[in-house]
């Protein structure tokens, strides 16, 4: 005889990632590493910003560089002789806590104070996946269009620091950078919003200040 039964499962698929993210944060905390998630659109300037920070900050920096197939970004960081792990996400459009866990195993955490985790260039997919970092920095640029912020509210809702980059070319691409700033503030009154140009160096000191404040909290 056959019978029919209902089986309760109640298993949140997102929870597995959240648990792993918490574990990552414990691993980071144990070695006194402060980790910053770096999210943003393709080509918004994530790698360039991390490069500027490596050059200017007086702390020991490490990087996890996520990319879909290449190791281009990882190679860029290696020139600065900082510890780098490149993560190829393959078909995936975002990093997850499990990938980061393995990257942490490959990093000399005791030699790092500040770890940047550059996510895959994407404003949608990474939102659901905590990695275990302490703050989230979202980098968008004026060349993506000045409606980029309002079109992707969730990623800004979760950000601690929002960088509106490439303001040096705002006029050339006919974008209103102030609108992007006020959209970000509207979506997330708690976030710190900074305009930057990595070409002229504008805003970089301010970004450093903010990160240092978070580190000392």
């Amino acid at each position: 005889m056959h019978k029919i039964a209902e089986v309760e499962i109640q298993h949140d698929i997102m929870l597995a990632n959240k648990k792993l993210a918490k574990r990552n944060q414990r691993i980071l905390d144990k070695s006194d590493v402060f980790a910053v998630d770096v999210l943003g659109a393709i080509g918004s300037g994530k790698t360039s910003l991390i490069e500027s920070l490596i050059k200017k900050m007086n702390v020991k920096i490490g990087v996890i560089a996520g990319d879909v197939i290449s190791k281009f970004d990882a190679n860029r960081f290696e020139q600065y002789e900082v510890p780098v792990v490149g993560l190829n996400t393959g078909k995936e459009c975002h990093l997850d806590a499990h990938l980061v866990e393995h990257a942490l195993e490959d990093l000399p955490l005791e030699k790092i104070d500040l770890l940047f985790i550059e996510n895959v260039g994407n404003l949608i997919c990474p939102v659901d996946f905590d990695l275990g970092s302490h703050i989230r920095m979202v980098v968008v640029s004026v060349s993506e269009g000045d409606d980029t912020v309002e079109k992707h509210p969730l990623i800004f809702k979760d950000a601690d620091l929002v960088v509106i980059n490439k303001v040096d070319i705002a006029e050339a691409v006919d974008a209103d950078d102030e609108k992007m700033v006020s959209d970000a503030r509207m979506l997330n009154p708690d976030a710190i919003v900074i305009k930057s140009s990595l070409k002229t160096g504008k805003g970089v000191d301010e970004i450093i200040n903010v990160i240092e404040n978070f580190m000392n909290k």
Binding site: I4, I124, P153, L187, P189
Partner: protein, 123 residues
């Protein structure tokens, strides 16, 4: 989009539970998806159908229930559902329905939950 890895994780969870309960067939599956997750239900169903070929899950009925968004307002202590309008479902994370303030915490709506399954088994 990352529906593929999500669907894959769901199938694993479901098949594990089915095996543990000596299921011979899985008739129905219920999955809850928070309205604020970046998952597209139609795409999810499609992928689940592809991934479950030749498994106990083949031909089972997949139900997807959407979990509405709930918030806690930091300004006026409002707790609960946001009245959300499908044409503009993002605005709800911006404003409290009671006081209109924007400083709030999302307490529900980001889940991706395999809720239950209905199975057939022998006595």
């Amino acid at each position: 989009m990352h529906e593929l890895s999500m669907a894959d994780a769901m199938v694993k969870t479901i098949l594990e539970a089915a095996e543990k309960n000596q299921a011979e067939k899985i008739l129905e599956v219920t999955i809850e998806i928070g309205k604020l997750t970046m998952l597209n239900p139609d795409q999810l169903i499609f992928l689940l159908e592809v991934l479950t070929e030749d498994t106990l899950l083949e031909d089972s009925e997949i139900h997807i229930e959407e979990i509405p968004v709930e918030i806690e307002c930091k300004s006026c202590d409002y707790k609960g559902l946001t009245n959300l309008d499908d044409s503009d479902h993002y605005l709800i994370i911006v404003k409290c329905p009671q006081c209109g303030e924007r400083d709030l915490k999302v307490t529900a709506g980001r889940e991706c939950n395999v809720k239950n399954i209905k199975i057939e088994k022998s006595d």
